[in-house]
């Protein structure tokens, strides 16, 4: 197991290196001089030249690239151009919000998606199946930010159940609505996948055997079928993490949550390149880590899968 984890982590290195390279290229080729941006329109050429020198922007691109690679791998991501805060610190203060949001919404997605999928598969071609699947297809078709907006208006303004957007003093209640909104799409996907995967599993011989030996239908479904049907669902959770992280950017914007997503949008608006590089890098890291965790959870659902 430990061996496998180490191997996976090593295997992730080339991917992360690739992400670092793309981030560097992206923030280097774009027009606009960060030094000029820092000084403002009225800065004189000498000041700009001086700042460019201090930031190392006057060095050859290849040298900058190698330095950036080294720095990135040691998590030395520089300081924000805008408020001179170390980028790692800026990210670490925002990271918990995003991680909480991502985890809560995944939990909600599973809580909504798996039961809906099971009901759909078991009560196939009934009104329950149809309504669950209509919900699911609407869930993957509606834009996250729009659902978020509707939710804010309904639950904060009209019903007044939730105090409002923002983070308050970090109480959990402020995470409820954004997590639900963010969880709708993965939840809908999970429901669809659970359904088709359950239908596939129910046809297997061992399910017939389980029924034949007189087990209660609920035990057949919950114990024998569900666990085997969960494998593709677990895979989709891993893949959806990437979408989730994109969704986080928009959701944090709607709900004014000070997470990584907002940080990156602010940084983009201000051409704060160190922060942009840092946030993208961290999001890619989160994605890779999430996928490793997902892979590690396979043996739990299918003991035939072993890592050694």
């Amino acid at each position: 197991m430990l061996n496998y984890i180490i191997r996976r982590l090593i295997g992730a290195v080339p991917v992360i290196l690739g992400v670092v390279a793309v981030v560097f290229i992206l923030t280097t080729i774009v027009p606009g001089d960060p030094a000029r941006l820092m000084v403002g329109q009225r800065g004189n050429p000498e000041t700009i030249a001086k700042i460019r020198h201090e930031m190392g922007l006057d060095r050859p691109v290849m040298v900058q690239f190698v330095d950036f690679m080294k720095d990135a791998l040691t998590f030395n991501l520089g300081r924000s151009y805008r408020n001179n805060m170390p980028v790692v610190q800026a990210i670490l203060t925002r990271l918990p919000v995003t991680i909480k949001l991502a985890i809560f919404s995944m939990i909600i997605a599973v809580i909504i998606g798996v039961p809906l999928g099971i009901i759909s598969a078991v009560k196939r071609y009934t009104w329950m199946d149809y309504s669950a699947m209509i919900f699911a297809i609407l869930g993957i078709s509606a834009p996250v930010f729009w659902v978020g907006l509707l939710a804010v208006v309904l639950f904060c303004k009209v019903l007044g159940w939730i105090p409002g957007t923002g983070l308050g003093n970090g109480e959990l209640i402020y995470y409820v609505l954004p997590s639900i909104v963010l969880g709708v799409r993965p939840g809908a996907l999970i429901a669809r996948l659970t359904r088709s995967s359950m239908l596939e599993t129910i046809r297997q011989d061992y399910i017939r055997t389980a029924r034949a030996k007189g087990l209660a239908e609920s035990i057949v479904i919950m114990k024998h079928a569900l666990r085997n049907a969960m494998i593709p669902v677990v895979t989709v959770i891993g893949i959806e993490t990437a979408n989730l992280l994109s969704g986080v950017v928009v959701t944090e914007q709607i709900f004014s949550m000070p997470g990584l997503g907002r940080l990156s949008v602010e940084a983009l608006l201000n051409r704060d390149f160190p922060v942009i590089r840092g946030t993208v890098l961290f999001m890619a890291l989160l994605f890779v880590l999430a996928n490793i965790i997902v892979d590690l959870s396979y043996p739990f659902f299918d003991p035939r899968i072993k890592y050694d």
Partner: protein, 306 residues
């Protein structure tokens, strides 16, 4: 391949040549027509496409015309009425008109960006699957990098700094969305290239490009088309997120995402129509593509049919 086999068994065969040329697609089309939700999805897509094409004929106003200058304050944020079906925005522009014209932007970006990602993805994926070895390693690595990238941020970073233009927009989206096509194409090519007819083509001296284009690609088309239809929905959602955040298509162009964001503050104070209608438009269009894509998958791949 499985598809072809099962089709030859079921399709009524008039003459052998006819059935070989058409039966896969004909049969898929017949199955698709029987699928109610797929035809519903296709209908939604066609209606919106027609609305986009004939926008000037089905709207009464100009999408940029600010009626507050001619009709005064009563045209400002007017609620939906017989005059203005979806109401007007704060500048007195007719929201129904803007939603209809907005379909042009979403569809244009959707088709162009999907087309680009199909081309990039299928070329790279086929090369990886066909040649294997180092080429496969390299392309698979590239695919994993693109997958690990938070693509919304990637596109944001591209469109935030480059001059705003539609071609740039769909190039940016195409550059980040090809990875799923590459994966599908790679897997399919690896599977197809083991078939005997590919071996036969190699044996009679067919070159690599001839084998790839004449013998392999036509046989991996079905899953690519399914993937592309479903991807259309995702790309339209991505584009609307971008314009919602204020990047990408620039005002006063009637991009749906941006309209939602413009109307946001008024929605919170009760004037819901500015934000709600463009949102419904996005949802209906994406729903159409998703339903149609689901149906296509069932129609083109009878193995998956439950």
């Amino acid at each position: 391949m499985q598809t072809k086999k099962s089709i030859n068994n079921t399709a009524p065969v008039k003459s052998k040549r006819m059935s070989e040329g058409r039966s896969l697609w004909m049969d898929a089309w017949l199955r698709l027509r029987k699928n109610k939700s797929a035809t519903f999805g296709l209908t939604l897509v066609i209606i919106i496409c027609l609305a986009a094409i004939f926008a000037p004929y089905i709207t009464r106003y100009d999408p940029y015309k600010q009626l507050i200058w001619t009709e005064g304050i009563k045209a400002k944020l007017a609620p939906p009425s017989a005059e203005h079906w979806f109401g007007t925005d704060v500048y007195g522009r007719d929201i129904y008109t803007r939603v209809v014209y907005g379909a042009r932007i979403s569809l244009q970006i959707g088709f162009a960006a999907t087309g680009m990602s199909v081309i990039i993805g299928v070329v790279l994926g086929s090369l990886a699957g066909y040649y294997g070895g180092f080429i496969d390693d390299f392309i698979s690595w590239l695919t994993n990098v693109v997958f690990a990238f938070p693509f919304l941020l990637f596109v944001l970073a591209l469109v935030a700094y480059l001059p705003p233009s539609l071609p740039l927009m769909y190039s940016a989206i195409g550059v980040v969305s090809w990875a799923s096509f590459a994966r599908v194409a790679r897997g399919q090519v690896m599977q197809v290239k083991r078939n005997e007819y590919v071996e036969a083509a190699t044996a009679v001296g067919g070159g690599d490009s001839r084998i790839l284009f004449r013998h392999i690609l036509p046989n991996i088309l079905a899953p690519i088309i399914v993937q592309a239809t479903l991807e259309m929905g995702s790309i339209i959602l991505l584009e609307s997120s971008l314009s919602f955040l204020g990047f990408g298509v620039q005002p006063p162009k009637p991009a749906w995402g941006f309209m939602i964001s413009e109307g946001k503050q008024f929605f919170l104070s009760g004037q819901w129509w500015w934000s709600v209608f463009p949102g419904i438009a996005i949802m209906v269009l994406v729903l159409g593509f998703n339903l149609f894509g689901d149906g296509l998958r069932d129609a083109l791949d009878p193995r998956l049919k439950q």
